[in-house]
Symmetry: C2
Subunit: 391 residues, 2 copies
């Protein structure tokens, strides 16, 4: 990447992050009455539901704390982080120690989660919030929840599924993927340790030996407990290009931290494989779901184009380009960049449209939901901007 | 509707049903090794997963039994019904009396259901199977399950949801809607009775007084337990035009059986309201999900066009036209017919494509899945053909 291109990209990211995306969430998401954030925001930022969901609450705390941690401790950002953290402290936890999945505006719990992700996002929020505030309770919660989540990840939570025990065992890629990222964040709290190293090595083994199948040049989301493929069922053929690419940059980050070139190389290969497999040659963009054998993908939204898949691909490619220098990463970066910046931004009210039809037309005009929140887009803008400054 | 149009439609339905749709399922769905049906069928009928799901198994038994019951007791149709019924008898039930939700090919159970619909489809299958075979066990199962389902409908099944008890009570339209239809089928087994009448009256009251809001000219899928609207949350604003129209013809059928013109009139109005609200004026077809207040519908598939919504609308309009004679029903019928028959049929391998993008292009080329099976399309073709013969 030549210098003028780096400068132009850096400026674009800086402008989009600080003048568009952050102001959008700072203006529209704070709930000054009950605390926490509104995330169900229409295209113009107006609130279409005041219900609150755990993932977006924790993720926005993480984002504003990370801004304070890595850019500057600006009072307005700290205030944003505190608004969400206080809501979590007041309302997040069930007496069992588990976090709820969703709430009414005032914090009254509505539903329990079926998986461990509510808790994993609270952990990373707590780590970053502690770093910028020194709050000892945040550190305690991060450590306590981390140990629980590592356990829960090994033993499915009772009652969390309707599957008949033992009739078809499968393991999912999302668990080692998220634990890898959470453990890396935990080292920001407690430094490297045998405990973290052991969890990380287990995650790396699961991802590389069980989910990534090099002979197929694919990452399979669900495999048998021994890592073998389950190609006779749709779940076993399920490929999520954007999800695998997010995992790839978690792996690159881990490779950098461990100074392990082999991890970096394999993660860069994975990125390219998933782009080759997942890119829509006709309309551009990454498919959301694909079937590894070309059989019908079952999710109704399989061919939609989602913002976060493109954000994850942009950062993975920029990082791979910086780490490896191979022009193929720049070529792919340019392609994904061109697609993303011509299709996702809303020229009228700012921020990005998250959901496009296969042909690139906008299918949902909202800016936030229980899933789209202050996370993938600003995280990618921040990380990419920081990376470009180093280049 | 003039006579030549009636004849042309009758011929089209007869041909599509008997020369296209029934042969497709008879050829591709029987599992002669383990019993039951394959329903995960690619566009050419090839099997892309051998897993079996309760809804499609029970619905296909219902359909082939109903063919025998109302057209003629043809040996090959009876054989099809028996294949699925024997699978249900052998594998469907958990020791608790509940039916499983899904199975491996050989009948090994995979998952439990979260709701009561697995059982409701077994009931209607059992009723029709008993009528054409006289099998006393089918009658016993229908009666036993019916009583259980009526109870379960009143008291949510423990552990079936992750909702926190009491924090936000809601009632769903799908329950009284399906019970209305199931109870009508039960009268084919045991005739009219006080028991059935009482259930039906409860269902009618729920649908008319709680879910249909005449001031809004809409049917709301989820309302508060007292029938009041919950417009501050997306679930409370959820409108499913095709589902409400299916409910409308269940109501018309009930009105005919009870000789109650007021039920018929209100059901016909409902059909028109939902078409007015749910029709896509730009591309044609019924939207899958809409928000009653024009706020963002959250399901990613909200603007897709689904075959079953059009099948239900076609039959509702034909029945309304026959019952009321108002030309508005014929006009709407023509519009839905034109859309359906130009967009859904597969000219290459027969049967219908089930899932279209908003613009009418095909998004999923399979003919069957865990949801699309031998039910909505053949039921509508059969019922419409029978209705046209009477006209």
């Amino acid at each position: 990447m030549n210098e003028s291109k780096i400068t132009a990209l850096k400026n674009l990211y800086e402008h989009t992050l600080f003048d568009d995306v952050i102001p959008f969430w700072m203006k529209h998401s704070p709930d000054r009455k009950h605390g926490g954030y509104f995330t169900m925001l229409n295209n113009d930022g107006s609130v279409y539901s005041t219900d609150k969901s755990m993932w977006p609450q924790a993720r926005e705390v993480w984002f504003f704390s990370t801004l304070c941690d890595t850019v500057e401790k600006r009072a307005e950002w700290l205030d944003m982080a505190k608004l969400g953290w206080d809501f979590i402290m007041k309302h997040a936890f069930h007496e069992s120690g588990r976090a709820y999945f969703s709430f009414k505006r005032d914090g009254t719990p509505l539903t329990m989660p079926r998986q461990i992700f509510s808790e994993t996002f609270i952990i990373i929020a707590a780590v970053r919030y502690h770093r910028v505030t020194g709050d000892p309770e945040a550190a305690r919660i991060a450590r306590d929840l981390y140990r629980k989540v590592v356990q829960w990840a090994e033993t499915p939570i009772a009652g969390s599924q309707k599957a008949i025990h033992g009739s078809r065992a499968m393991i999912g890629h999302a668990i080692p993927m998220i634990l890898l990222n959470v453990t890396r964040e935990m080292t920001l709290l407690d430094g490297e340790s045998d405990e973290f190293n052991e969890v990380t090595e287990r995650c790396l083994a699961k991802i590389f030996d069980y989910h990534i199948h090099t002979d197929r040049k694919l990452l399979f989301e669900q495999v048998a407990p021994d890592g073998s493929l389950m190609l006779d069922i749709p779940e076993g053929r399920l490929v999520l290009p954007g999800h695998a690419i997010e995992s790839a940059w978690f792996l690159m980050q881990e490779g950098v931290a461990r100074k392990d070139l082999s991890i970096i190389d394999r993660a860069c290969d994975l990125t390219l494989w998933m782009l080759d497999f997942g890119w829509d040659e006709e309309y551009g963009g990454l498919y959301y779901f694909l079937d590894s054998e070309g059989k019908p993908p079952l999710p109704l939204e399989w061919d939609m184009k989602l913002w976060w898949c493109h954000n994850e691909a942009l950062f993975a490619l920029l990082l791979a380009h910086k780490l490896k220098g191979d022009p193929i990463f720049e070529e792919w970066y340019d392609r994904v960049h061109e697609y993303s910046f011509t299709h996702h931004p809303d020229p009228e009210y700012g921020e990005w449209f998250g959901y496009l039809h296969r042909d690139g037309s906008v299918s949902h005009r909202f800016k936030g939901s229980n899933w789209k929140c202050c996370f993938h887009l600003p995280r990618q803008l921040l990380y990419s901007w920081q990376l470009l400054k180093e280049m």
